[in-house]
């Protein structure tokens, strides 16, 4: 019997909980997340920047496929340089198929020592899969084989889940997810196997929501990050805070946006007590709290 989300995690207000503690000198952790996707041309595109004339959906959708492909050919490498210059290691959440179709990209991430996190096999929502468990197992397997290590974390494509997704993830050895954006602190979710930790992710500092869906000007990548950060930074005087920033090469890696992303990272990382950690490191810290 699939579990209701509240059976996995009871409601709890953030105030009045026992305090979590970061290591000395850290008050706020930035969690950079870089998402790499495979858009199968045989399917409707995951996102669209331009709709076809008369709004008629078309298959294949060349304009939007190439828009995404630009991210993998050009945008990713621009972002890689930026992250290198900033000296931060993101969590790379990737459709497992990226290991097969863009091995140069996946290899560059592995060589940089970045954490690989499973993001399904390709960019199809979990609801549309015939055999969810098989796809989860395959995703973990493909990444493990490519990387030589098993991914510890998971993001569903579009953060989608069905009521039993977490049980399959746990059975496949996944220790944490980023799909649940319901808190500023990590929380532990019950599953039918081992518990899974939901790390604090958000749909607000997220280039798809901001740019592809919200149609904000490019400099909102900077302005919103800073507004968000100032609030959490002030609050981190009382409770440790974690702030995720989600990026996709076809959005954050384009020429008119990358500078806004870059200066946002620069600004937040220049503040005392701010560190950038990947998901695995946040998970290990959280597990050591109990």
């Amino acid at each position: 019997m699939p579990m209701h989300p509240r059976e996995r995690l009871a409601y709890s207000p953030i105030e009045g909980r026992p305090l979590l503690k970061f290591p000395k000198g850290v008050r706020l952790v930035i969690w950079p997340v870089l998402a790499l996707e495979e858009w199968d041309m045989a399917r409707p595109m995951a996102r669209m920047v331009i709709s076809p004339p008369q709004g008629q959906p078309m298959l294949p959708d060349h304009p939007n496929w190439t828009w995404h492909e630009y991210g993998m050919r050009v945008g990713f490498w621009r972002m890689k340089r930026m992250l290198h210059d900033l000296k931060i290691n993101p969590t790379v959440t990737l459709n497992a198929r990226v290991c097969e179709t863009y091995p140069q990209v996946a290899q560059a991430c592995a060589d940089a020592g970045w954490e690989l996190n499973a993001h399904g096999y390709d960019q199809v929502p979990m609801h549309k899969l015939d055999d969810q468990k098989a796809v989860i197992d395959k995703s973990v397997e493909v990444i493990t084989k490519f990387w030589g290590r098993a991914p510890r974390g998971w993001f569903g494509p579009g953060l989608t889940q069905t009521f039993d997704t977490l049980d399959h993830l746990s059975a496949a050895g996944i220790e944490y997810i980023g799909d649940w954006v319901l808190d500023d602190e990590p929380v532990t979710l019950k599953t039918t196997h081992k518990p899974v930790v939901a790390l604090p992710y958000n749909f607000e500092l997220h280039d798809i929501v901001l740019m592809a869906l919200g149609h904000h000007p490019s400099d909102q990548m900077y302005a919103r990050v800073m507004d968000h950060f100032e609030c959490l930074y002030a609050e981190s005087g009382e409770r440790p805070k974690i702030m995720a920033i989600a990026m996709h090469p076809y959005l954050s890696g384009v020429p008119h946006r990358i500078n806004h992303v870059h200066r946002a990272f620069e600004a937040v990382l220049s503040r005392p007590g701010v560190a950038a950690w990947d998901g695995a490191k946040i998970l290990d810290w959280y597990k050591a709290q109990a």
């Binding site: 207000p13 996102r47 929502p125 989608t160 954006v181 808190d183 607000e204 968000h228």
Partner: protein, 291 residues
């Protein structure tokens, strides 16, 4: 209007005649105040087994997935974290709160209810669940149950009502009046309270807003966070000016999952930093306005 009359309930113009705001009897507030600001916080419980009322993120290639866990979580953040951030603003500026809450949310979020009861906020009915009133199976039962749940949790029967998404049927004001509600805020058609006819005793409509409302501004129109402050100030200054000869009411409406997000909360705060100290502005609840 040649619209056929509904079998049950009334057309809007049968409840309320058109009236130009400049040609009415003068409305006066105590102590020479020009205007009232009332602030409504909307707390909802979204049922994860149903389609989400709103979404910030659509699935790859679009559609409405079921279940929609990502958007359920996004809303839940508001009640776990965002609400407490907004509450601090109410406390710091001593704003009398109006809690517009779904019946089911009263049980789901007891900590929120307690915090508001402790602060003597006014609770108003917001439907038993976050569903369009036109889709609710039994409207009267829903309206009655909302009142009962609030009475049980707060010790007071709610006097005001704001429908989920401001939705109404032709009959809603009649049922509200019959069920003992004194005022409704679903009709955003004026800067002053207006009486609406019902088949029983009349019900008061208090000015509400879809304009200084975070769902419309942030979620539907995709404005940047600071626009909430900018628009509220523009709205405030104009209403203050307009209220020279007769009192007016301004509403500000927020949802913890939207304005309670870290990058937005400060713009909510900034509004009160700017207007709370104005001598000729009252900060009231809906009931105070109605009285």
């Amino acid at each position: 209007m040649n619209f056929p009359k509904p079998a049950v309930g009334m057309l809007p113009n049968d409840r309320l005649d058109y009236s130009a705001i400049t040609k009415r009897k003068r409305l006066k507030l105590p102590k020479g105040a020009r205007m009232v600001v009332w602030t409504i916080t909307n707390v909802e419980e979204w049922d994860p087994t149903q389609t989400m009322p709103r979404a910030v993120l659509t699935p790859p290639a679009g559609g409405s997935p079921m279940p929609d866990i990502p958007n359920w979580c996004w809303h839940e953040y508001g009640n776990r974290v965002g609400f407490w951030r907004l509450l601090q603003v109410y406390d710091d500026f001593k704003i009398p709160g109006v809690m517009n809450i779904n019946g089911v949310a009263v049980k789901a979020y007891p900590d929120i209810v307690k915090a508001c009861v402790d602060r003597k906020w006014e609770f108003i009915g917001h439907g038993y669940t976050q569903r369009n009133m036109q889709k609710v199976e039994n409207e009267r039962a829903d309206i009655r149950k909302s009142a009962e749940v609030l009475e049980e949790a707060t010790g007071k029967r709610p006097r005001g009502w704001l429908g989920p998404g401001l939705t109404e049927t032709w009959e809603t004001p009649d049922i509200l009046a019959e069920e003992g509600y004194d005022y409704v805020a679903d009709w955003v058609l004026d800067d002053q309270p207006v009486w609406m006819k019902t088949r029983g005793k009349p019900i008061l409509n208090i000015p509400y807003t879809q304009e200084c409302n975070d769902v419309a501004m942030m979620l539907i129109q995709h404005h940047k966070a600071s626009e909430f402050y900018e628009r509220a100030m523009d709205q405030f200054e104009q209403i203050h000016k307009d209220a020279k000869h007769s009192a007016r009411v301004m509403a500000i409406s927020v949802h913890p999952y939207i304005m309670g997000a870290p990058h937005r909360a400060k713009y909510f705060r900034k509004i009160y930093e700017k207007i709370r100290k104005k001598r000729d502005v009252l900060f009231w609840t809906g009931s105070q306005i109605a009285d």
